[in-house]
């Protein structure tokens, strides 16, 4: 057994669970094997550290029970539960309102986007409107044939509607 390394044994069970035979085997092995000796020393140090940590215990403070009972009452109080229910309902309402606002904003943007294109087209197509002829062009002698025809067409159409 002298040749077999003891690292598996160190990892398998805690030191207090090793029996006499295992302890003797470890002692013989670490006398010649530097790696296992190092591992054994580290395992012993770990056992000491864990033992020291396990001895630390904190006792309840005198007000601990009162604090827990207060927390329990707070948890159970109707005011707290009403507030919680109100918040729950309000949260659902806020979420649905936010969703509705987002939907409206989306729809508005979509509609304005789809309407702006035809308006621009209409403007570009109908640049010789009656208003344009009167307000922008000033002197009717400078009008082109196209401008005159468009203006005439609008006046006729307006007259027919009337």
């Amino acid at each position: 057994m002298k040749e077999a390394h003891i690292i598996n044994l160190l990892e398998e069970r805690p030191a207090p669970e090793w029996d006499e035979r295992e302890r003797a085997m470890i002692e013989i092995h670490i006398a010649d094997c530097a790696d296992c000796r190092r591992a054994y020393r580290a395992a012993m140090a770990a056992a000491d550290l864990l033992g020291a940590r396990a001895n630390e215990t904190i006792e309840p403070s005198p007000f601990f029970n009162a604090r827990v009972m207060a927390a329990l009452r707070e948890k159970q109080s109707p005011a707290a539960s009403t507030l919680a229910a109100m918040w729950k309902a309000a949260r659902a309402l806020i979420v649905s309102m936010a969703a509705a606002v987002a939907l409206l904003v989306g729809l508005t943007l979509w509609i304005s986007g789809s309407q702006s294109q035809p308006l621009e087209t209409a403007e570009s197509e109908n640049i010789y409107s009656a208003e344009w002829v009167i307000l922008e062009n000033g002197d009717p002698d400078d009008l082109t044939y196209g401008e005159i025809m468009t203006t005439l067409y609008e006046v006729v159409a307006y007259g027919e509607d009337k």
Binding site: P14, A42, L49, T57, P60, N65, M69
Partner: protein, 221 residues
């Protein structure tokens, strides 16, 4: 109109209050389930130290231990209806306490492994004593405190489940079966986690001890 029950009721209450201390765990659990605050207070009085001992295994700062213990009792109160008296009340409570602490530890997260290398002077001295065979560790309160600090540093780098298995078995001397009962994990899971934690802890300490020996030799040169 004279109502004898009206007089009897407070008397019964007072008698009951006096009997809480003698009441069995199951009776207290039944009363607490019906909203009996005095019964629950008796449970806390009876098992407060036990819950604190469990929480102290996982947390070191008083405020953390108290917070964990409060969380445990609030959970016990809400889950007391599920205790039917089949197993021991203490076992049921220990299981809730252990699992609550494990969840709190998980929420706190792990410490990076590199942080273990930042040792204090006292911790280095503790390791030096450990390296020198002829110089045994003093068993003073200070030395134990230093060892507990170093242990905590190393434990914080381990995965939470591994840490729990190692602490409960190697630190607190519990059997694999006891840890399995407390955590609800299978015995083979407990064994694997403890083995893995033992290896990691040993390797981390080997590194620290080796670094210490090297520093010592360099100092001698």
């Amino acid at each position: 109109m004279f109502d004898p029950a009206a007089i009897r009721r407070p008397l019964e209450g007072a008698l009951l209050q006096e009997r809480y201390e003698q009441a069995s765990d199951l009776d207290l659990a039944r009363l607490a389930r019906k909203g009996g605050e005095a019964a629950f207070e008796e449970i806390m009085r009876r098992y407060g130290p036990r819950v604190f001992r469990i929480a102290s295994r996982f947390f070191r700062r008083r405020e953390m231990v108290e917070e964990a213990a409060q969380e445990v009792f609030l959970k016990i109160y809400t889950e007391i209806a599920s205790y039917e008296g089949r197993g021991s009340f203490e076992g049921w409570l220990a299981r809730i306490a252990t699992n609550t602490c494990i969840n709190l530890l998980r929420a706190a997260g792990r410490r990076p492994e590199s942080s273990v290398e930042d040792l204090t002077e006292d911790e280095i001295e503790w390791l030096e004593r450990k390296t020198a065979r002829s110089n045994p560790q003093p068993s003073s309160v200070e030395s134990r405190l230093v060892a507990a600090d170093l242990a905590e540093k190393l434990l914080e780098t381990l995965p939470v489940d591994d840490r729990v298995a190692l602490q409960l078995i190697d630190g607190n001397g519990l059997s694999v079966k006891e840890v399995s009962d407390m955590t609800g994990w299978s015995e083979s899971k407990v064994k694997v986690k403890a083995m893995r934690a033992r290896r990691r802890m040993r390797q981390a300490l080997e590194k620290l001890l080796e670094g210490n020996t090297r520093a010592e030799s360099a100092g001698r040169i």
